[in-house]
């Protein structure tokens, strides 16, 4: 999921999965096949450790050098009733020897730890795919719980798949019998057995996982060794048992990546690092005021670890206090941030309006999730765009920046900080659950290539009064940016008062004058409209496309993958992806008018297309999905083809 624009030389993302390239050497009597890409989905109970298993496989895959993209998918309940459909947690990983853009539409391999996991996921699994099931769980009660009258392993309903029945629980307990653990304790390592098996199947390195387990259970060396043993037993099982006749190689994606040092990174981690980097580059202390909320809490957790960077994290009594404290810190000269999700934004709205009126820099990070109300806390959606754009009383414009991939959250955070600091304004950073929890390889930037975000605090008078005396006017603006001076407490001679009541232009004193209010409203709007954002670069290889697809935020991966499929099928299509939603890039209107047809796929009911239609009077066609899941490239490709040929 590197952020490259596709070129004709590249293969489409629609290549047949599992395509055999060169039969490998069947060393040790087993066949090794080469694949260009694989999609694996681990599925089990919420308590089965599927997210951890997925994370470990991802780390191994990243360090091996494949390109990858992940999709964790879990219920909001911490431990839903065991063995039920609502309790199923899964982790999908797509890895390849080339540049890929999405976690993949459908898994080639499903690991189902119990009947519920099989039932919840089988619908997504294409015929011919491999399914590894934990047969120990396919007993009467667990099957009855999810409505299997007969065992799907025996009634022929899985005939179209390549099923590997493995008694994962029994094998794990057997492997750990010398540890003297209770059955229940031993059973817990079955996810590591499964991980070992899959690691063997796909030739993953294992040192990282063993190191990880020993560090994670450093205080319980017995448990650490039990997990390592289960992991190795899984590996050995794959190598020795006849049921697994073939293992697979997916070569490192050397050509997909520019030269550099890489790591795997999730969106929330990249965003956290972006904030720390912005603080460093601005030479301002970072202050986070936040209240825990899914899927944003990881940023609070992460930043709390970095106090040695001068980062202050304040877990507030509520969402309002979170942003309030951040705003107070901004007044004092910190790089201030509040992190939340949609319901939290609703509570923060009044304070965001205050920040608009005070014209202080403030980052509002919204990790969007399914709505309305509590909605789908652990699922993704892009339905807060209009809330960010308009969700305040009065005319209260706020710039909006949206990252497009997990790793891009780093750059987007720096960009949002640039706008906030330069223009003295609150800025929305709109990520979402898919970006937050998904991960991909990231080329680690050199610190000296990061942007310089340093600001000048006001240090002296900026205005001469009629009688010749010098004064400080808190609302006297920079002519180019329209930003007002940032004079922080502690600066002698610049004592001033600011507030949410309308203020007189220049002096900042309370003013109810009609003409002044009209002027101030228009000036605040003009400041946001005038923010410098780069022009859009259109990806239109042929230059002859008549259809343009416009996206924003996390749909970048699926849309770009769909565009590659469409082009692979010989069609022409142009693509733009918006990072800046407010203000829009200057050339957006001109770009939109260049094409006969404009398609706007979004994970909402058409919020960007509403904005585009209103602002540019173009006949934008909205394609929407609000399932809590990202678009599938194949389906999106069909939509685009239909539009092209309409």
């Amino acid at each position: 999921m590197t952020s490259q624009v596709s070129s004709p030389a590249e293969k489409t993302d629609g290549a047949l999965v599992g395509e055999q390239r060169a039969p490998g050497d069947g060393g040790e009597g087993k066949e090794v096949r080469r694949l260009d890409r694989v999609i694996i989905r681990f599925a089990g109970d919420s308590g089965d450790g599927m997210q951890l298993t997925g994370d470990r496989f991802t780390s191994e895959t990243a360090s091996f050098g494949n390109d990858l993209s992940t999709l964790p998918n879990f219920p909001a309940e911490i431990r839903a009733p065991a063995g039920t459909l609502p309790g199923v947690s899964s982790f999908q990983l797509h890895f390849a020897d080339h540049d890929i853009l999405t976690p993949g539409d459908a898994p080639n391999v499903l690991v189902a730890m119990n009947p519920a996991a099989l039932k919840a996921n089988i619908g997504d699994v294409p015929r011919g795919a491999e399914i590894i099931v934990n047969t120990d769980e396919f007993t009467k009660r667990p099957m009855a719980k999810v409505g299997y009258a007969t065992s799907p392993l025996e009634d022929g309903s899985l005939e179209a798949y390549n099923v590997h029945p493995v008694p994962l629980t029994t094998l794990t307990i057997e492997a750990l019998k010398e540890f003297g653990l209770s059955r229940k304790e031993a059973e817990r390592s079955k996810n590591m057995f499964a991980l070992g098996l899959l690691s063997w199947m796909y030739h993953r390195p294992t040192e990282g996982t063993e190191k990880f387990l020993r560090a994670k259970f450093a205080k319980k060396p017995d448990i650490a060794e039990a997990n390592v043993t289960a992991f190795r037993a899984g590996w050995n099982f794959g190598e020795t048992t006849e049921d697994f006749a073939t293992s697979y190689e997916v070569a490192p994606a050397t050509k997909a990546f520019p030269t550099g040092t890489y790591r795997n990174i999730s969106g929330n981690l990249a965003l956290s690092y972006g904030l720390v980097a912005a603080s460093k580059q601005a030479d301002l202390p970072l202050y986070l005021g936040s209240y825990p909320i899914t899927p944003a809490s990881d940023i609070l957790h992460e930043l709390s670890k970095h106090k040695n960077f001068g980062v202050r994290t304040f877990q507030a009594e509520d969402e309002i206090a979170g942003i309030g404290a951040a705003l107070g810190a901004a007044f004092g000269g910190s790089l201030a941030v509040t992190t939340t999700s949609g319901p939290g934004v609703a509570l923060k709205s009044e304070t965001i309006g205050l920040a608009v009126s005070l014209e202080l820099p403030l980052l509002i990070v919204d990790i969007q999730r399914g709505g309305p109300s509590t909605g789908l806390p652990t699922k993704t959606e892009q339905a807060d765009l209009l809330q960010a754009m308009y969700g305040r009383n009065g005319e209260a414009p706020v710039p909006i920046v949206a990252p497009k991939t997990p790793a891009d959250c780093f750059d987007a955070a720096l960009d949002a900080a640039r706008i906030a600091l330069t223009y003295r304004t609150p800025v929305f950073l709109l990520s979402d659950g898919y970006l937050a929890n998904g991960s991909e390889p990231w080329r680690i930037p050199e610190v000296d290539e990061l942007p310089d975000l340093r600001v000048q605090f006001a240090s002296g008078p900026n205005h001469e009064l009629a009688d010749g005396t010098e004064a400080f006017w808190p609302y006297k603006r920079d002519e180019r940016t329209l930003a007002r001076p940032w004079a922080i407490p502690g600066t002698p001679g610049l004592e001033h008062r600011i507030g949410g009541i309308e203020k007189q232009d220049g002096t900042g004193n309370i003013s109810y004058d009609p003409a002044n209010h009209d002027f101030m409203v228009r000036t605040r709007q003009a400041k946001i409209d005038g923010i410098e954002v780069p022009d859009l670069e259109v990806d239109d290889l042929s230059g002859e496309a008549n259809t343009l697809v416009v996206g924003w935020g996390s749909t970048y991966g699926p849309i770009t993958a769909a565009v590659r499929r469409v082009r692979g099928a010989g069609e022409r299509i142009a693509q733009v992806h918006l990072r800046h939603l407010n203000p829009f890039p200057r050339n957006l209107g001109e770009v939109l008018r260049r094409y006969d047809k404009v398609v706007v796929p979004e994970m909402n009911l058409g919020q960007l297309s509403t904005l585009l239609r209103a602002k540019y009077l173009v006949d934008a066609r909205s394609h929407t999905q609000v399932s809590g899941m990202p678009f599938k490239a194949e389906q999106l490709a069909e939509v685009l083809k239909e539009a092209i040929n309409d």
Partner: protein, 365 residues
């Protein structure tokens, strides 16, 4: 029954040790902004403003390091009239905003100005959490027992059954006692004073300013338009004898018409039967059991019991003065200490090392 009460500490302003001092001597005028004061003529807020402006020079702090943060309401216009840094924020949120400022800037003296509606109704949550955290804030709660700026609805401190525009048949909700509430919220400093008693008001401000941590000062303030005379019983010299219990650290808690010893003829004692406080006539029962006020008592129970002596209807037996003044760890100091110990433990943050993490691979072109 005798109690030994520790001496009042010398007025060492420990809370403000990190705030730079003024270079020259200041006067009240230095703290007046150029803005015209727009409260109603006769409003109690004028007296409080004058008292604060008059008291500030005594602190001797660089005025650029003083910040007043307010919410919404009549009293919340206060910052505009102070020639310091100031923010007139939104309804109820001043303690949260001030928390962010104070916890990120320990070189500032941060004051919150709020009212009974602002602090106890819409902003109640922020108030109790600021108190429990013990952030270095001085909160001046102007209590006029009415909503003034919205023109006269009952407030969370209005007496039960109050007839107002929104309660023509009388209010139905029991009032908060702000002092009791603050004590229940783990406040380390709680005081009450009255707008018209400048000397008392100033003495309370002095104690609040010296307190490291959150100081809550409830100021009974007259709204002469919508709730005139609400505190008359505390201000009228004759009635005040019975109505006001003046608390002084280390002094016996006596009030009422003077007894031959010059102190009040009534005393506050602990009722051995219930453990609660009660009022006795010292002329009849003697002074032996009369409590000596200990603002520094580790337990807040006596302070709480004192706060409950006041009758919410008549305001009789209203204690004023510093009810509680104890030291406990201050939030912003703790926060800052954590930053220091993180640097000690891990070294100063290295951005390149952070970004790289522990698990990287290299692609060579």
């Amino acid at each position: 029954m005798t109690e030994t009460i520790p001496e009042e500490k010398p007025a060492q302003i420990e809370a403000l040790s990190l705030v730079p001092k003024a270079e020259a001597k200041q006067s009240m005028k230095d703290f007046k902004s150029d803005q015209e004061v727009r409260w109603c003529p006769g409003c109690g807020d004028y007296a409080v403003l004058a008292a604060v402006q008059g008291f500030m020079p005594e602190l001797g702090l660089a005025k650029e390091n003083i910040v007043f943060v307010s919410g919404i309401g009549c009293s919340s216009r206060f910052p505009y009239y102070m020639n310091t840094y100031g923010m007139h924020s939104i309804h109820g949120r001043a303690p949260a905003i001030a928390t962010g400022l104070a916890s990120s800037r320990r070189d500032l003296s941060v004051w919150v100005v709020t009212g009974d509606g602002d602090a106890l109704s819409i902003g109640g949550n922020h108030l109790i959490h600021a108190l429990r955290r013990n952030v270095n804030l001085k909160i001046l709660l102007f209590n006029n027992r009415i909503y003034g700026l919205t023109k006269g609805q009952y407030s969370p401190t209005s007496e039960l059954g109050k007839i107002t525009k929104s309660t023509p048949m009388g209010s139905l909700d029991a009032p908060f006692n702000p002092v009791s509430l603050a004590l229940g919220a783990e406040a380390s400093f709680v005081a009450r004073t009255v707008d018209s008693d400048r000397k008392h008001l100033t003495s309370v401000l002095r104690a609040a300013a010296a307190h490291p941590g959150t100081a809550l000062v409830e100021i009974y303030q007259n709204c002469n338009i919508f709730n005139d005379g609400a505190f008359e019983v505390l201000k009228d010299k004759d009635q005040a004898l019975e109505a006001v219990i003046r608390l002084e650290h280390g002094e016996p808690i006596r009030f009422g018409a003077p007894a031959p010893d010059g102190l009040g003829s009534k005393g506050v004692v602990r009722d051995p039967a219930t453990g609660d406080l009660k009022v006795i006539d010292v002329l009849e029962e003697g002074t032996d059991g009369v409590l000596v006020h200990d603002a520094h008592a580790a337990s807040p129970t006596t302070a709480f019991a004192l706060s409950r002596l006041a009758d919410p209807e008549t305001l009789h037996r209203t204690p004023i003065g510093v009810l509680r003044n104890v030291e406990r760890p201050v939030y912003d100091t703790l926060m800052s200490d954590q930053l220091d110990s993180a640097v000690e433990q891990k070294g100063k943050g290295d951005l390149a090392a952070l970004l790289a993490g522990n698990d990287t691979w290299t692609v060579v072109g």
